[in-house]
Amino acid sequence: MSAHVVCVTSGGGLPIFSRKKGNTDSLPFSTIGSLNGVHMFGKSQKITLQNTVTEDYSLAWKEYHDSLVLIGISSGCTIEVLTKTLDSIFNAIVLIVGIEEIKSQRNIERFKRELRICYPLIDRLLDSLDCGDSGSRHSSDLIGLVETILCPENHLIQIVLDSFTECVDSLFSCVLIHGKIAAATNSWWSLHPEEIKLLAILAQSENTSSSKDIPVFLPYKSPTVAFRFVCCTLIPDIQLCCLCGPTPVLSEVEFSATNCFKNSADILSSAIQCHPRNFHSTCHIDGGILGLLLVNTTYGKYMITRNPHQNSNKKNASSSHRLDILRTFFYQSVLTFLVPSEDSNEDAEISNKSEANVGLETYWCSEYHKCFAMKIRDNILAVLFNSSIPTFAMRLITEKTLKNLISDKQICW
């Protein structure tokens, strides 16, 4: 139940940072040195270390732009997820300091100082690893995907948001409820899922003041030129974010935000009731369903809920475990079988045969629960059931629920 991530410079092996998760000691310096040493020595032998697995742990090395090496160690999760997490962490670094700074590495000490801002992001990203402990507050995080909240009020918020976007003369803006996207402009969705995800985490991190104004480099869209990421709190736990150029200044943005949203305070406060259910209370969901995970692979967004029924408002002890199960199911089975990996596109010839086989549905049955996932086009629904449900019924229920969800205009998925 522990995870470590270590960053060192690939040239000199200087440690940049080391973060951990779970109740474990930090890695001693000598260990970090050796972990980097084997990777470095491998290069002289024309060997690029990728990963190592033990019975319970996974280790992964990844070098970025010949300048930084990230090393991750985690228990209980697959290599694929760990490697994706390392990619996300690197993107978080790019987000804060930009790619140029990473490549040039003029002043390591300054670089380290600048990265301090990154730490909350990195720690949050580590929470996406399914180490198998349900203690984590963020066990609904999925790596590389951004969480959304499906409030009934999303339509109304969207309208207000669009008018706000015109006011501040930017295309990119969104409204976050508890860090989950309630509404966003089309341009916001056109960003890379990684970027959307990182910005959402950034908005939440160190929420001390009511507003933020941080320069960010978008890892895919503009890794060299910084944007301004402005973020104002509308009411507690609801934030308005936008990306803009040098103008308008923060106070102007705040002013526009107040102007646009002052009449929608009621909407916002009713929308916030949707948390932590994340989900329309009016939508009919089969009684046997304990949890839902709805993913859209094109936008890289998902909605996860652990108590889809209205009456289950009281928080029972097992419900946070449900998110863990759904997440593990998603990582272990859905990601493996239903989501074609991006790497396979590169050498299409080799993987031609296996690519021909596309997974559509997957399920597993445990002693204590059952899970079923189904893919229709780019939407995937993973459902957690009680273990008493007959296996054949899961398929029908999942299919019905998924069709319901993606066709329901109310939900605005």
Binding site: G37, T48, T54, E55, S75, D324, F337, N357, E361, T362
Partner: protein
């Protein structure tokens, strides 16, 4: 060349053409009179016994046409084991036995100069009298579109196994030569118009003759008995390259192969981690490495990384590393770790040969085989005399892996020949289990009896005087294989896996599947799991040595584990095989063959009366059609299909009967001996119990041929079974994997070539690997002591998964026009805990919903029957 062999040659020349030069020689060579009382007990393999270790590997093949094994096979007479006569002899068996041992020692006194080339195993070529020579006058025909020999002579040619002599391999359609009764497939084409022909000069000789109208062919019958007179003895070779490599590599081949292997990221390394320090010489820590030399091996050069990682990861995570993946020159490779005390065993495989999960399984299997062969890894790698053997093993093993895990010979690697396609995923073939072929009851009982009799080694009835000497070996167990399938096993589960892994890795299964083996004989000291390695110290294991005796003939392979020491005579060091026990095993195998078990098994494999699998067809029916048929299927099942299926099988039976009467088996019955008689009498009593009333078999005339017919006719009643629900068969594949008993049930190898099914099965196996490792999690947690559970860092969501399924969609690949249509199919795996862990994997078309528990139950029913 072997001195013995040369001497024998001399003898052969001195006493020109004799009926059995072989026996003549043996009589002269051994001054004991024993051998003269039996004509087949001459151990033709004796000279192959290794001088110091007593190990033996002897393979004798029938000559054959390349890729056309079946045509020559029917002509090969069954080697009559006239052991039966031997048994009739009134002399005390054990007295003879002891004499024989003396004689063996005696014969070793003959000076033997050690062979320089092959140090471990020697092959002796078996030669015998030549067939008749025939002269045929053929009219030349002209069909320019065919190859030269075909167009001119109307004969298609192959080469005899020595690669030099020309053999008649077949006739093109409408050839005149086909009607010439003196030309038979398998004949050696010696000369054309008195010009001797070889494979090299055939075309040029024919070229010159192309303007003639008639030619004179000289042919010689080869099949059955090898011709030995003309070609020099060192060219005579009735072995394929595969067999030669199985027995031993030539120095040059090995060197070529090593050079080639060094280009691939493949290898094995055994290290002493204590010896790794700055002060020591560079390769001081390396105990064993392959391929050689150290400087060229990727693994050896970069071992520092993995030694460090092994140590480091253990420190950080308190768990041992299993595998590491890395890119070497842009090729993905996987490395696996095995640590024992201060020794570290590393395997490296390229991803193109084996995925991570396959790599781990393959390296575990190789490790297990070494433990079986050498007791411990230390013994395996540190003892110098094993080295040659291990090198030889890895040369073949890596050759196979690089050829997409298909057995091949080293010239494929060294000769830059095209290697097989990128490797298909293997699942069943890398699990430590033996694929099993369930036999019908009667056949099972007979084989069971035969093996039990062998194991009991009860020789009282052959002795008149009481015995006062101890026996040499106790037989711990035996197992019978056919075509690589386990038919029956009397071994302990763990030992069965040992034996199976050994035979699989050494390629004996491939041998029995593909080569026309006449005699296979292997003798080796082994360390079965149950006797030496098991952790269970409660059972007292007698102090002694165990030996593996493999006896093979045609597609059959009998494995026997014998123990010396304990209740038998104390074990000697480096004991060689004992002719008596070898003959016993051979006789048992011959008896089983006489019973018709191989034919039965072959038929079993080809008709597959067990659960049926199908191949995907373009789906013309809609799902609703399938569902409609569901309700009807019950009634149709009862009436339909039954008659036609039985009729087919019945027809076969009658065919079989016809061939029986003309086959060599009948000739044998006349002189089947006392052993058979004893069997017979027992069978009779058994049968009279079983069939008490109204059995058509009359006791008096009951003999093996009838038994054989009974066994073979049993297939008549068996119908193909459909595992899946619904009218149409939608099952593509199934596997039942039982790690405890070490057996695996699955359909026989796919006979039909279909791109689609290949793609589907590849995907199926990949998914199975994934499921299997998830199930391992569950099993691990189940077996975990309660106090460790809290400490365990396992993902709590994964601790109790017992069923996992995925539905895939795949385009139909076979038919270009139909590329658009897709096939949907499920891959489902299920773990059962009771009574012991068992895993079932199935792959079926999606149309009809299936219940995996029901399918597993049906597979089990099939076994029980």
């Amino acid at each position: 060349m072997d001195v013995e062999e040369q001497r024998r040659l001399l003898i052969n020349q001195n006493n020109p053409p004799e009926n059995s030069s072989e026996e003549e020689w043996s009589d002269e060579s051994s001054d004991d009179s024993y051998y003269s009382d039996s004509d087949s007990s001459v151990p033709e393999w004796e000279s192959s016994i290794h001088d110091t270790t007593g190990e033996l590997l002897f393979i004798d093949c029938h000559p054959f046409v390349t890729q056309n094994i079946d045509t020559t096979k029917p002509k090969t007479p069954l080697q009559p084991f006239s052991k039966d006569q031997l048994r009739r002899s009134t002399r005390g068996k054990f007295l003879r036995l002891i004499r024989r041992r003396e004689s063996q020692r005696h014969s070793r006194r003959y000076p033997k100069t050690p062979d320089l080339d092959s140090t471990t195993n020697k092959v002796k070529f078996h030669d015998s009298q030549e067939g008749e020579e025939k002269e045929v006058v053929l009219k030349l025909s002209r069909k320019p579109e065919l190859g030269l020999p075909e167009s001119l002579l109307g004969i298609s040619v192959g080469t005899l196994s020595d690669g030099n002599r020309v053999m008649v391999a077949g006739f093109p359609p409408d050839s005149e030569a086909k009607h010439e009764k003196n030309i038979k497939i398998g004949d050696w084409l010696k000369s054309v118009n008195n010009i001797p022909v070889t494979n090299q000069n055939l075309n040029s000789v024919l070229d010159k003759l192309s303007d003639k109208h008639e030619v004179l062919l000289k042919l010689q019958r080869v099949a059955g008995v090898e011709v030995t007179k003309d070609p020099p003895i060192n060219e005579l070779n009735c072995q394929s390259r595969f067999v030669r490599e199985l027995v031993g590599f030539g120095k040059e081949d090995e060197q070529l192969l090593l050079e080639k292997l060094a280009q691939y990221p493949i290898g094995i390394l055994y290290l002493n981690t204590d010896k790794l320090s700055e002060g020591n010489p560079e390769y001081d820590d390396v105990i064993y490495s392959y391929p050689l030399p150290f400087q060229k091996s990727v693994l050896c050069q970069s071992r520092g990384i993995f030694i460090t990682l092994n140590h480091l990861i253990n420190d950080v995570t308190r768990t041992k590393p299993q595998s590491t993946s890395f890119f070497h020159r842009d090729k993905l490779c996987h490395l696996t770790y095995t640590q024992e005390n201060n020794k570290l065993l590393l395997f490296l495989f390229p991803d193109s040969c084996a995925s991570v999960k396959e790599s781990v399984l393959i390296s575990n299997e190789i490790k297990r085989m070494f433990l079986f062969m050498y007791q411990s890894l230390d013994q395996c790698f540190t003892i110098e005399s094993n080295r040659q053997q291990i090198n030889h093993f890895f040369a073949r093993c890596f050759t196979r892996l690089l050829n997409a895990k298909k057995w091949t010979t080293s010239d494929y690697i060294t000769g830059n020949k095209a290697l097989a396609e990128p490797s298909q995923c293997q699942f069943e073939d890398v699990l430590p289990v033996a694929p099993t072929l369930p036999l019908p009851n009667e056949a099972y009982m007979q084989v069971d009896d035969a093996l039990t009799e062998l194991e009991a080694s009860d020789y009282r009835e052959w002795n008149e005087e009481p015995l006062d000497c101890q026996r040499l070996f106790t037989i711990l167990g035996s197992a019978l294989y056919h075509h690589g399938y386990l038919l029956i096993s009397h071994l302990m589960y763990e030992d069965l896996i040992d034996v199976h892994v050994f035979c699989r890795q050494q390629g004996f299964f491939h041998l029995s599947k593909t080569e026309p083996v006449k005699t296979l004989l292997l003798w080796k000291e082994v360390f079965p799991h149950s006797c030496n390695r098991s952790a269970n110290t409660n059972a007292k294991i007698p102090d002694g040595k165990r030996y593996l005796l493999l006896v093979g003939s045609r597609k059959d392979l009998l494995a026997v584990i014998m123990e010396a020491g304990g209740c038998t005579e104390p074990a000697e060091d480096n004991m060689g095989p004992d002719a008596f026990y070898v003959e016993e095993a051979q006789a048992t195998l011959a008896h089983i063959q006489e019973l018709g078990i191989p034919e039965l098994a072959d038929r079993w494999i080809s008709t597959n009366p067990g659960p049926q699998v199908t191949i995907p067809e373009t789906c013309t029916k809609r799902k609703s059609d399938f569902l409609d048929t569901l309700s009807k299927s019950v009634s149709q099942h009862k009436e339909g299909r039954k008659p036609e299926v039985t009729s087919i099988l019945k027809r076969r039976n009658s065919d079989q009967n016809v061939t029986n009467s003309s086959s060599f088996f009948l000739d044998d019955h006349s002189d089947s001996g006392s052993q058979c008689e004893s069997r017979r009498s027992r069978c009779d009593s058994d049968d009279s119990d079983d069939y008490g009333d109204g059995s058509q078999m009359s006791n008096s005339s009951f003999d093996i041929s009838e038994l054989r017919q009974t066994i073979l006719s049993e297939t008549g009643e068996i119908q193909p079974r459909q595992l899946t629900a619904g009218k149409d068969n939608v099952l593509f594949h199934f596997i039942q994997f039982d790690a405890t008993e070490g057996i695996l049930i699955g359909p026989p190898e796919c006979r039909l070539q279909s791109q689609t099914i290949d793609a589907i099965l590849d995907c199926f196996r990949n998914a199975c690997h994934k499921f299997h490792s998830l199930f391992q999690n569950t099993l691990r947690f189940k077996n975990m002591p309660a106090q460790d559970m809290a400490k365990s860092v396992m993902n709590k969501s994964l601790i109790a998964i017992k069923e996992h399924g995925v539905m895939f969609e795949c385009p139909f690949l076979d038919d270009i026009d139909n590329k658009k249509s897709n096939i949907k199919y499920w891959v489902v795996g299920r773990l059962f805990y009771m009574p012991h862990p068992r895993e079932v994997y199935v792959c079926y078309q999606e149309n009809i919903p299936q219940n995996i528990i029901e399918l597993a139950f049906k597979i089990d029913l099939d076994l029980a029957k």
